[in-house]
Symmetry: C2
Subunit: 302 residues, 2 copies
């Protein structure tokens, strides 16, 4: 089954305590698409400027990503610059130039309107709704969001929550969206607003998945060197949804495995700048790391 | 098998966003002993003042804890006052009065010198060494420590690390002790200093256990209301060591189960002030929560 990914394409400049990368490929739609491409067919809906390098298009084409919905607009590609401290948690944003992304109005190509799985990455909730109106009969829709939209576009975001099946956000966003510091209560409120499933990303601490009758805690993968956390959350969403689109197994067990596949893809992503690690994976490597997660979390029943 | 617990007995005054408790029973030796008492025989080595209430002694006796090593010294019992903010992480210490604890020189009663399991809770490393010199042939020794000793008694602490089998500390302490922000590297350094096993407590995020050939990640139990985190780390150590002393299973699988039992005991502890929840548990409740941990962390292999 195929998955439609809608989000940003960016040229990122990133500084971490371990190095620096200038104007490298990034953006939520890119990390999620490349990650999902190891599991299923991916259709990308996004916008780039005329400066977008051919080599990046080649990378996406190499991963068999359908670029029919990738608009090329006059102007520059979205640029983001950020810096991470030693704890590698939230980066300090040094610069954001929206460029062509500012006027982005997602248009889903006719054949992609039948896609059964949809990921609405972190963009304006109004645009997320625009995408949903173009889809004919999605089987599972997931969305991400961020503090900016929670503060400024709450009404639109609430309409998105009513329409999606899965929300994938981080811990701080879950607390902010629900107004609840306690995550169990935060989850109950968010599930009450529409989705059946809430996945809370916790960085090095792993992820929690809540549904109305189950909580799943996935471990973080203990990495000896985390090089650059950029894109980990989107790679997580890509692995999670890519696995679901591939198996179409939406049972609790299937969703739990999907969380682990998401965690696997995030763990590879942070091992290098940009998509340097994520782009050159093999499926056996992905399976091997899944098994490492299994061993990491394993304990016997009593 | 029995376990010897050495640490503090305190009268705690605690404020959280959810309430207040004045001069209630606390201290590392108390939380760890009561927790371990659900699994094995416990011998307590600690000191209290003449003001220590009879009802607290009765509570310990009710839990069948051997009080032969509980010294009653002239003066007041150790008192601590602290306040937690909404995130319930590290408390702000409002007052510490060491009182009789200042002159504590642990004396292990003759019959207890044969104890096979020993927990050296967070006290001066020199005192931890004093205890070890009194033990005849301990099978497994575990210790805790804190920033104060890491900064001021490093030499003594390093001698402790050479002699113990298991170190049980929190994330910040692991980073400070090793001088490594990355936990995998921090663990390798600490294991290099002596112990075979390192357990890193991460509060609501669970725990990591490192040995030379295995890493285990235990989930945190998602609680809807965390009332008071005081004592959770010591209750963890008590459950962990109590289970090991009971089963004498020191294999990797046994240690993993012990981490879960430690997590179970910590999760009960934070549900109420002082030992209000921990003191009135039943073993079936403990087993039921173990099974909840199992379900929480479960995912199928591929």
């Amino acid at each position: 089954m195929s998955i439609l990914m809608v989000g940003s394409v960016a040229m990122d400049s990133v500084e971490t305590p371990f190095g620096k990368a200038e104007a490298v490929l990034g953006g939520s739609a890119i990390y999620s698409s490349v990650s999902a491409s190891y599991f299923t067919e991916v259709q990308l809906v996004a916008v780039v400027g005329t400066d977008f390098p051919e080599e990046h298009l080649a990378l996406l084409a190499d991963r068999q990503i359908d670029l029919g919905g990738l608009e090329r607009a006059p102007g520059q590609t979205f640029r983001w610059a950020g810096r991470y401290g030693f704890d590698l948690s939230e980066p300090e944003t040094l610069e954001t130039r929206l460029n062509v992304f500012e006027q982005f109005r997602p248009k889903v190509p006719e054949p992609s309107r039948d896609a059964e799985f949809v990921f609405l990455a972190n963009i304006d909730p109004e645009l997320q709704l625009t995408v949903l109106r173009q889809m004919r009969h999605p089987r599972l829709v997931a969305c991400d969001t961020m503090n900016f939209w929670i503060e400024r576009k709450r009404e639109g975001l609430e309409r998105v929550l009513e329409k999606v099946d899965v929300v994938i956000i981080n811990e701080a966003e879950a607390r902010q969206l629900s107004g609840e510091p306690n995550l169990v209560r935060a989850a109950r409120r968010i599930l009450g607003a529409g989705p059946d499933t809430l996945v809370i990303k916790r960085g090095e601490y792993g992820a929690l998945m809540f549904s109305n009758d189950s909580i799943f805690s996935a471990p973080g993968y203990p990495l000896e060197s985390i090089f650059d956390p950029t894109g980990a959350g989107d790679a997580f969403a890509g692995g999670f949804l890519g696995y679901l689109a591939n198996t179409r197994d939406l049972t609790d067990e299937g969703l739990r495995r999907a969380v682990i596949f998401g965690s696997v893809m995030a763990s590879f992503t942070v091992e290098d700048f940009s998509l340097n690690r994520l782009r050159q994976l093999t499926y056996p490597e992905i399976e091997a790391r899944y098994k490492e997660f299994k061993r990491l979390a394993h304990f016997e029943d009593i």
